[in-house]
Symmetry: C2
Subunit: 123 residues, 2 copies
């Protein structure tokens, strides 16, 4: 089996920087494909491809307007990501388990000398 399809879920869809960029642009306002092409500075087919992925996971909605297609953001599918990541918030914002982390590193340093780049001691 290869890697999961980018259309498998929002996690895979937003793993691509360009797609996050598109969502960021759409967060401001509804935009046509050519609008996005102009701002992204990449060829149109590529933008269409990314938009297709975003559409398939439901992150954008489309609306026909003449010969243009207006894309609109739909953040709903991002909620699962938010919910998942959220549970780890304490692991970076608080000093929980910071103690044994330091202890473990000390113990390691005792045995072998390595550079750990351990900076930023939060008060």
């Amino acid at each position: 089996m290869a890697r999961a399809a980018t259309t498998a879920d929002a996690f895979n869809a937003v793993a691509e920087p360009r797609r996050r960029q598109i969502l960021d642009l759409l967060a401001g306002r509804e935009q046509s494909v050519s609008d996005l092409v102009a701002q992204l500075g990449v060829v149109q087919p590529l933008v269409s491809k990314h938009l297709r992925v975003l559409r398939e996971v439901g992150l954008v909605d489309v609306r026909d307007e003449g010969r243009q297609r207006m894309y609109r953001l739909n953040g709903q599918p991002l909620k699962p990501i938010f919910d998942w990541v959220r549970t780890y918030e304490q692991s970076w914002s608080q000093r929980f388990s910071r103690l044994d982390e330091v202890l473990a590193e000390l113990k390691e340093t005792e045995l072998r000398e390595e550079e750990e780049g351990n900076d930023g001691d939060d008060e």
Copy 2:
């Protein structure tokens, strides 16, 4: 160019369900590779591979203990994901822009008749 490497950043690393599962397991407590293998029910080399990816993006730290390698969670690299997704929170939790969304759909329905599967009218 192909898809970005899974080791490119946390976004790509956690796009894989199995890796999120591993992080979830490590969230509870430090674990050895064989501990993870037992709980995940997959072959050991695969777990080691996933752990390598997680290590490369800094999501886990390792500590040698005899012939075992204890892996520990490090949520830090998840913060960028949290920060990014967070900016979209209103797009799913509030009813902002819900109005023109409905209007747009109505307008579309006027012109062409399609099944939109539009359910769940919030409160």
